[in-house]
Amino acid sequence: MTDPRVAGAGVTAFGSYPERTGRDLFAEAGLEALDQSGVPAADVEALYYGNFMGELAEHQGHQGPLMAEMVGVDAPATRYEAACASAGAAIRSAVQAIRSGEADVVMVGGAERMTNIGTAGATDALSIAADDLYEIRAGMTFPGAYALMARSYFEEYGGSREDLAHVAVKNHEHAMVNDHAQLQKEISVADALEAPMVAEPLGLYDACPITDGAAAAIVTSEAYAAEHDLDAPVRISGTGQGGDNLALQDRAHYAQTPAADKAAREAYDDAGIGADAVDVAEVHDCFTIAEVLALESLALFERGEAITAARDGTTTRHGELPVNLSGGLKAKGHPVGATGVAQLATIAWVLDGSHPRADAVPDATVGVAHNAGGTVASTTVHVLEVGE
């Protein structure tokens, strides 16, 4: 078994583009991925496509074949839906298809149109990733759910709103050179602490923005990459996925994310590495507390210790383990169905040296991408490696 190669990727500008349709967003990302890879569209044997709220945002279901058509691909196309981990789940299927020998070339991607339905509409659409009967009808929103987790974390391990503010400050600073980022604006800890409350203890700067955008990548077998002399030095060496009870109330912990623990263990085992081999990470920071929970589930920090990682500088671009060099969901933006592939693209570009923040980790050979859905009832983790 050989590792699938990332042959090329494309990511649209992330931001507020209410008039851009999902199909237009995905066409841009998909064609860019094809062009960057040098792979002809005719060689693509399948499209694995992530999307979460297409029915609610633009009254469009059955997006798989639509998106294949938009990128000029005549191949089976299937939409994956795992809330905000939709694209991560799509990547996992792409990896499995290549590894099994079923396919030599696939496109993986995702798109989300969100701002056209406004903040209240998008908050409502996002909330359906939670349990409709037992959570949404009790007033739970997504920020509300992560606020419940943050409060529980503070109670169990300590930490403060100020610690979380440092996560936001870090990710905003990382995004300053990412021209595709939605928020290219430096913020201070005071700005974050003084921002209006969304769901206490989380404020506006603890939350990622509502984003329109798309991402795509071409993944090939090693044999195809060699035969066609592709410039594809980065391989996907590990994949993992974990699940949990859908409703937060049904879990043993509100301050831990066991689905991500499972996904990380499986991905590390699959790649034959330990957490200590990881040089750089893109994690699902839909809220600042989510970055903290992710880093602990990835075993990059002990339980209760990731809360101060941004504040003490460990996870900044100057630190030992830079996290979310892209700006993360927090500053880069979070078009939910595209996010997993945007993370994959970031790690691939950091490892091959072409990302504007690659200079933070010039010798990096191992990166991980952590993509979480709902209150982390679905998580995928992928390990990417370069060299050898």
Binding site: G139, G144, L148, R151, S152, A247
Partner: protein, 132 residues
């Protein structure tokens, strides 16, 4: 808009809450759940029995929601909490207490209330004071 069909065992559970007979489902290994369930997701047991919900619960975590969905627009700001009732935990709206006074560990009772925005039924927690 037409009347929405009832959501089976969920609405039955709300009815029981309304009549003051709240219950939960207990598997043979003591794992608690809310209906409908045919199997315990923790241990696979299909022997689920209906048990009386403990009279009081304890707030495990809570948030005051300021940015609401359209269905809760007029309720905001409001407090949503998860409260532990023995083997089962339940999400509900905390009423009758100033948001700043809600704390982890607060003892609450459970009842049926209404969303201010839509009038639909909702699970409500109210603080229980010691009878002493």
């Amino acid at each position: 808009m037409t009347d929405r069909a009832r959501d089976g065992a969920f609405d039955d559970w709300l009815d029981a809450l309304a009549t003051g007979d709240p219950y939960y489902l207990d598997c043979e290994n003591g794992h608690g759940w809310l209906p409908p369930r045919r199997v315990c997701p923790d241990c696979g047991s299909r022997e689920l029995s209906r048990e009386t919900l403990p009279d009081a619960g304890t707030i495990a975590t809570h948030t005051t929601v300021h940015v609401a969905t359209p269905q809760f627009e007029d309720d905001a700001p409001y407090v949503t909490a998860i409260a532990d009732f023995g083997p089962v935990s339940i999400t509900g709206l905390v009423r009758g207490v100033e948001p700043d006074a809600v704390e982890i560990g607060t003892t609450v009772g459970i009842e049926i209330g209404e969303r201010e925005t839509t009038g639909e039924r909702a699970v409500v927690f109210r603080r229980r004071y010691s009878s002493h």
